[in-house]
Amino acid sequence: MRKLWKLAAVTGVAVAFGTMTSIGSAFATPPAGYGFDNTSHVIVGGGSDTTYRAQIGLSDLWAESGLSGCPHVTANGTSTNACAANVNPETSNQGNYQGDTIAQANPVGSSTGIGSLNGSSGAASTYQGTVNPVPAGTCVTATPGVANVDFARSSRAPKTSGGKAPCGNELTADTFWGYAQDGVEVNVFTAARGAQVQGAPSPALTPDDLFHIWNCSGGTGTGGRVRWSDVVPSISPGSATDADIVPWQMNTGSGTFGTFQTYIQTNATGVPSGWSPNAQSCDRALASGQPPLENDIKPLVNDPAALATGTSADNPGNWIWWGSFGVFSAFPYTSNYTRSGTPTQAVAAPVNGILPSTSRIIANTYPIGRTLYNVTRKFDADCAKTAGACDFPGNPGPTVGATTDLNVTGGTSGTSGAVREYTRWLCRVSTAQHGLDPFTGTSFFSEITTAINNAGFTVVPSALRSSGSRCQVLS
């Protein structure tokens, strides 16, 4: 008799459990208010070289956050790695809930990445190494059957005319999510030259000085070129360390190029419309005729048949360039290189008497400061708005414990939803909105800051952030 009772009890529990499980399977839905659809997708970012390393670090963290997301189907079959039957309602882990795959395509420059995002070069244009076509949308050209990036890395601000979107205004097509801050440094190539230019009295180097150097004009050198003695008073004209300054070009697709060009165009006097720091006779390209990619001095140093000394154009002591302060600082192999026993080192020159530093970059007081962006198509990820302006506090997102989540609008499924959730995660404002790294137990809010710092950048200055977010959102 006792055995029968036990059998009945066990059977009852089993039936009850089975019923609950089947109900869970039948009615389980992805977390409400998010872009998840309980299936795993692949999204690929591309564009900026400057932000490549930072975004790789951030993508790493986003991928890790999937470990605390939904339980996954682990058996081989047609739905392997999809979210398995789950509790109802499902609750977001404030991270990569459904275990999307994220990758960063090889860098080709910010503008090229934004162009790929928007299909700006036409339906047949593609960005190799990506997987998804551009869908149709406002100010976006669809690329059916041809792959392009799902989000763009950009180290320059959006262009509202003449930009890399079919309609010209990138903010009609896209939203720019500024998540980090950097400065563009103007640099010379030896410590000795660095000491000379850093010793020049303020406000060296002025925007006019920079314009003249890259415009090959306004100086006392060959054909009006600028010589070191023109901008550094401690160097006597014709002395051993005086020579024509050799300005280098840069890949025009890069945000670093665009930021510097815009700074000169905006701040120097007498700059012709459409002026480029690559377009004058003294602006040096590589021997191949191509401008070098940004943020790495090695291709420049290895370019001449042999490095020289004195007034030679092949003496790195006479060179000047520009690049990312963050990248050059965090990764010395990009900025400190010895060829055949000759050491070269990118050393920042002052701009308007101010040297780049992270304390000035976070305070937004360096003259060529810049925000670094994650760029999304508007229909994938956009800010919640009031009267057409981003307004996160006025439009709270889903409830998260005792607070509310950042409200990012956009895709509700597929790769569009995946882009939306990566963007939301990147811009959440506090630990209260974030989950914990399953490996370290540290809040992803802190780890995002660390990943940004690891790449040499700072977080966005508070004065530039959109209220309720850690990002500067331009829409």
């Binding site: 030896t190 410590a191 000795a192 660095g194 000491a195 850093q198 600082s329 965090a330 990764f331 010395p332 050491p343 080192q345 050393v347 920042a348 002052p350 008497g353 101010i354 040297l355 780049p356 530093s357 992270t358 304390s359 000035r360 970059i361 976070i362 305070a363 506090p393 414990g401 005792a402 607070t403 509310t404 404002v429 506090s430 630990t431 209260a432 909105q433 914990l436 370290t440 137990g441 809040s443 802190s446 800051t449 660390t450 710092n453 690891n454 790449a455 040499g456 700072t458 977080v459 209220s467 309720g468």
Partner: protein
């Protein structure tokens, strides 16, 4: 004869090792404990001159403020335990490998912060001061870090403990004693996951943090204690294990030289006797 050559080789090797140990980078200034930096009634602490040696000539050297956690602690990282937002422009080390961050230099002056760090990574507080309600870890034993890279741990990084105190409570001898090995003595008090999760809304927390930040340094002074670091120290700071090891090795080398000479003399004496 073979024995003599072996001994001589060992002496040279140990001397090189000992010498290398002794030439590690060192913060030379501030050099005397305590260095007191007055804090204006309304504003951040005044800039401090920092001088460090032991770098390669021409190297770019950085200084930043850290939470005081020892770099030997597991998971320590300069980007998690320091705030590069506190770092002025890097200095070019001179021909002797010395980097000078002069307080009077607008580009290179180092300005310590009190309260929330520039990127909201941690708080540096004077003892007895309430921690801002920002959910961040707080430390009363912060430090300066001088190195050739703010974004990665380096072999040349050197630390200097910083203690903040109020103007009314003059720093005592015990203050500097307790911070002599600040890097190791500091406690990491990061909030628990539960506490973080239960934190108030971000907007409220930020507002509270700002409020606390503006009120905290009103009558505080920063005390920079004598050179002491977790990894690199002054040339005569025998409390540092690495440096002490270097001196022991050098002394060992000298003893071996003496022993070698004694053996050679003995051998010579025997030869003469024969």
């Amino acid at each position: 004869m073979v024995r003599t050559r072996c001994l001589a080789g060992l002496v040279v090797l140990l001397s090189v090792i000992g010498g290398a140990r002794a030439s590690a980078s060192t913060i030379m200034e501030p050099a005397h404990a305590p260095v007191v930096v007055s804090v204006a009634t309304s504003g951040p602490p005044a800039a401090v001159t920092v001088v460090a040696s032991g770098f390669s000539s021409g190297a770019l050297v950085y200084v930043e403020q850290c939470d005081g956690v020892a770099p030997t602690t597991p998971q320590w990282s300069p980007t998690a335990d320091c705030d590069l937002g506190s770092s002025p422009a890097p200095v070019i080390a001179d021909g002797r490998g010395i980097a000078t961050f002069a307080a009077s230099d607008k580009n290179h002056a180092f300005r310590p912060f009190v309260g929330e760090s520039p990127q909201s990574i941690f708080n540096c507080l004077a003892p007895g001061r309430p921690a801002p309600a920002n959910g961040l870890a707080s430390s009363t034993k912060c430090s300066l870090r001088v190195s050739t890279n703010n974004a990665a741990a380096t072999g040349d990084q050197a630390f200097l403990a910083v203690a903040f105190t109020t103007a009314k409570a003059a720093p005592s001898a015990s203050d500097s004693t307790t911070t002599t090995t600040a890097g190791r003595a500091s406690t990491r008090s990061k909030p628990s996951a539960t506490a973080k999760g239960a934190a108030a809304s971000a907007a409220r927390a930020k507002a509270a943090a700002r409020k606390a930040k503006t009120s905290a340094p009103s009558d505080a002074v920063a005390v920079l204690s004598a050179p002491h670091t977790a990894q690199h120290v002054g040339a005569f700071s025998l409390s540092d294990a690495n440096l002490a090891t270097g001196y022991v090795l050098v002394l060992g080398g000298l003893l071996m030289v003496a022993l070698t000479i004694a053996l050679l003399r003995r051998d010579a004496g025997r030869t003469r006797a024969r």
